[in-house]
């Protein structure tokens, strides 16, 4: 029981920080809702940990509900890291496009200047 209260207090702190960040406009509305739902689900999981224990047992997993939540969290983290890796690769690709455009624009500008100079002469 004490552990559950402790975990809920920590989640409340995170939610308070989340509202603070939203008020300071450090995060956008979509991010705010994502994390709010995430922490609320976490709080619900802690409140109903006994029921989750029973559900996990019913599903045939050995170990307690808290273990199951831990495994689930690791899986979600893996997925998020994977998504992050993909978005980084896309960002990288956009960066290349910009570098390429700058390189080509510069040389084209130089070409135009040379052509103009030759015409003037």
């Amino acid at each position: 029981m004490l552990q559950q209260i402790f975990a809920l207090v920590i989640i409340a702190l995170f939610i308070w920080r989340l509202f603070e960040q939203k008020n300071k406009k450090k995060i956008n509305l979509n991010e705010f809702y994502f994390w709010l739902i995430f922490w609320c689900l976490g709080a619900l999981a802690i409140v109903f940990i006994r029921q989750i224990d029973r559900l996990v047992e019913f599903l045939g997993f050995s170990g307690s509900g808290i273990n199951f939540l831990l495994y689930l969290t690791v899986m979600i983290l893996f997925y998020l890291v994977f998504k992050l890796r993909l978005s980084l690769a896309k960002l990288d690709s956009n960066l290349t496009e910009i570098a390429r455009k700058i390189a080509l624009d510069k040389v084209n500008k130089l070409d135009d200047e040379n052509t103009k100079e030759n015409k003037d002469q």
Binding site: L86, S93, T96, A99, V107
Partner: protein, 220 residues
């Protein structure tokens, strides 16, 4: 026929002037794509008479080659040559690679270090890295070529228009081959000589290439 040679370069101040002077007799324009070198590569290339395209940040050899391709196509090149800046290829062999295209036998000519001519390859590269690279190309793309990682290649304009190099790093070699086969372009392998001053890619680079290919397959 307008021939443009693209030389991607990153910190190649030691070799770039000599490479440009050796390539010049065989092409109409030399384009050095300076991939944000920290040495004098760009200035030396410009002084040697090459057109220099400068990436403001380092993006890798694949990215530099695509920048060069874009430029060559903008300038209406009929023949586009990819050549390395490290002075390991023989510029005298450029006409050998152009010939299959001008004669209409092929749309792309790929230099191969494993046909009749003898290149002095380091033993580990010849016996371990290259067979592994061939295996990866067969598994990933069903490509059967004698030299899957050669950077000496020549494209006709039509072929270059169909190729878009998306892998910025060293995985571009496999990607180019894949696109050549996907677009059903006529390919001819031409024997080339490579003189190694340095070992080239490390063994670990091979794993990075595989990782890059996998990521590119997922995000495409």
């Amino acid at each position: 026929m307008k021939k443009i040679c693209i030389i991607p370069a990153y910190n190649e101040a030691e070799h770039i002037t000599e490479v440009i002077s050796r390539v010049r007799p065989f092409v109409d324009e030399i384009v050095v794509v300076d991939d944000c070198s920290s040495d004098d590569t760009a200035q030396l290339a410009q002084a040697a008479g090459a057109t220099v395209l400068k990436h403001p940040i380092n993006r890798g050899q694949g990215a530099a080659l695509q920048t060069g391709n874009d430029y060559a196509l903008l300038k209406n090149a009929d023949i586009i040559i990819h050549f390395d800046a490290d002075n390991q290829f023989c510029a005298e062999e450029i006409p050998d690679l152009i010939l299959p295209i001008t004669s209409g036998r092929a749309q792309v000519a790929l230099g191969s270090r494993f046909l009749t001519k003898k290149s002095k390859l380091p033993a580990s590269k010849k016996n371990i890295i290259m067979p592994l690279a061939r295996l990866v190309n067969r598994l990933f793309f069903n490509i059967k070529l004698s030299d899957p990682q050669s950077g000496f290649r020549v494209f006709s304009k039509e072929a270059a228009q169909k190729i878009e190099i998306k892998n910025d790093g060293m995985a571009h070699c496999s990607e180019i081959l894949h696109q050549l086969f996907k677009n059903k372009l006529k390919i001819e392998e031409v024997p080339i000589t490579v003189v190694y001053h340095e070992f080239g890619q490390k063994f670990s680079s091979g794993f990075k290439i595989i990782k890059d290919l996998l990521i590119r397959k997922i995000i495409k």
